[in-house]
Point group: C2
């Protein structure tokens, strides 16, 4: 028996949810089989930090930052964007969150035979609009067609390429650090989920927050680089996933104050209706930051001046003693509960 | 009416065949909309050469070489390899053919819910085996799962990353150059096609030639760099596609001697049976080289010592006068005919 029971015999939706099951699968199938020398190229950061991003040191001391992601979002058009905008934005954000300036993108599109060319052009136009606005070059790509019925519409893989003076690759969260979130959470996840449930997202006031975070991250890193101990855009699995990841990597305890987490009413109402924790829903235009305590207020003010008026300090980092690597939520009613990383069957094709 | 009639209203298999239709689609939807500044990053080569590969200059004069490709091959296991081996090999070859040493790979896997984990592990093992043998690091990746019925099994996208002293990016073919092909053609394409037609490829003696070309290209570029005017691995569309691409980019006429093109009997017999030109069938372990005439014989001998004993000089380049940018085939019977680039509906999911 090669498989641990929790892995089962076949691929589950949960394996693609970006949570515990994804980690287990990749650990078992890939990471445990990689020699140290196969985890990084030319001395950069690679799979040793288990991520979709990597760095390669340049001869002048800067770093090339790379990321890869496949986008399968369903539906492909949604309030606030489409799969093309999401694919370009997502890879740009991966690069920006590593403290790098995005300079180029490559894309690989797999599309179903019979897909309307007009829709394909709309999708490509959305992708190009993001690149144009961000000054990012499209330097290469691939296009494959699968026969009708073998792929549901379209999958886009994008490769983000950026340059960083000093990339943010390790989670350097320390006890005392403040946690800042730069905008209302769960907007993208709630929108896609509502559409998948046949609810008219727009009528409910839901809209994806999909937008590039370069305008936030580049000035922030330049001005407060050494004070930013951790940075991530909480996509799949939302805030709950990202914070658990940080806590477990650093052996700290993160305490989050639920009532300080920015949350728009439509997302709150929709989550309550479906019994879903909005902290587990994907964001596509929000940054999560771990900031040195002495500069947290100043960073918060600066983030707000950059167009992220809803930014808030939502929590704090403690030294892990009896408990290590956990996230605690101080609820609206004043209680304290463990905020688990989302696991099991979440929404498929959320991004 | 936004669409030219030849584009039609929806995506055709031909749009993904890598031929004329692919070029038209990409030209219309992407390339014509890219400002010059959006075609290359940091002064490297990008979409200005319409390719899956690109380069980024490094501060020390070397170049980083990048490529991206999605693999959809069906069946996923075949004599000579599987989709994992193909995905790793294909991207390594893209990098090697640009004269670069592959140093790293990133992968993004999209897999269907219910796919056997045992098969997924086999595929990943094949990918890792190639990387291990080639000394290439796996520095990042992504995994997504699509609900059952929304994707036929698995699609793998790989990003190749290499470093070149002097990358081969432009087709520098000149009149007088000799064309060398390093092994028997059409092996991969014939194998996959036979399997798709329900013919037991192994029984027919068919086997994919899928293998890394670093052992060929790295020593060759080091020893004969300036004599190699063009290099390509003729995958989708085979020799016919690659040679037409070269001829049209340089406005030359390429004349190929059919009887000198290495072709194994099973591929010849199978192609004849189905009425397919083996010169249009994909290779996955063969290089096509355009070499300066004075060193062609010497290069050929050297290529043979590198383990490519079946290599042959198959043709020559002429100045285009009345005809420009065409490929002529001197047939076995002594006639001369135009070798068209493959167009229309070829085999889907060949790589």
């Amino acid at each position: 028996m090669r498989w641990r029971p929790s892995l089962g015999g076949s691929v589950l939706l949960a394996h693609g949810a970006g949570g515990r099951e994804t980690g287990e699968l990749l650990q078992h199938m890939l990471l445990s089989k990689l020699a140290e020398s196969m985890k990084r190229a030319l001395g950069g950061y690679g799979t040793d930090v288990l991520d979709d991003g990597a760095t390669i040191p340049l001869p002048d001391g800067r770093h090339l930052v790379l990321s890869v992601d496949s986008y399968t979002v369903n539906p492909i058009f949604f309030p606030g964007g489409d799969i093309g905008k999401l694919a370009a934005t997502g890879s740009i954000n991966d690069i920006a969150m590593m403290g790098a300036r995005p300079v180029a993108l490559m894309d690989s599109i797999v599309v179903e035979e019979g897909f309307p060319l007009e829709d394909l052009e709309k999708i490509m136009d959305s992708m190009l609009a993001v690149l144009r606005e961000e000054g990012v070059a499209l330097i290469g790509g691939d296009l494959k067609v699968m026969p009708q019925g073998q792929l549901d519409k379209i999958v886009i893989t994008t490769v983000g390429i950026g340059v960083a003076e000093r990339p943010i690759v390790d989670v350097g969260l320390r006890p005392g650090d403040k946690i800042i979130v730069t905008g209302p959470v769960g907007e993208h996840g709630a929108t896609i989920m509502a559409l998948q449930h046949g609810i008219g997202a727009e009528a409910e006031g839901l809209q994806s927050d999909c937008r590039p975070l370069t305008g936030l991250m580049l000035p922030l890193v330049e001005r407060y680089g050494e004070h930013i101990h951790a940075a991530q855009d909480p996509t799949r699995g939302g805030l709950a996933m990202a914070l658990n990841d940080w806590a477990s990597k650093t052996g700290t305890v993160v305490v989050v104050d639920e009532k300080r987490v920015p949350l728009r009413e439509p997302v709150r109402a929709y989550s309550e209706m479906l019994g879903i924790d909005p902290l587990s829903l994907a964001c596509e235009g929000v940054a999560l930051l771990g900031v040195a305590p002495e500069s947290a207020e100043e960073v918060l003010e600066y983030v707000r001046t950059l167009g992220f008026q809803d930014a808030e300090i939502i929590g704090e980092v403690y030294k892990g003693e009896r408990h290590k690597g956990v996230v605690l939520l101080r609820t609206r009613t004043g209680g304290l509960r463990i905020l688990e990383p989302p696991s099991g069957e979440l929404v498929p094709r959320i991004c």
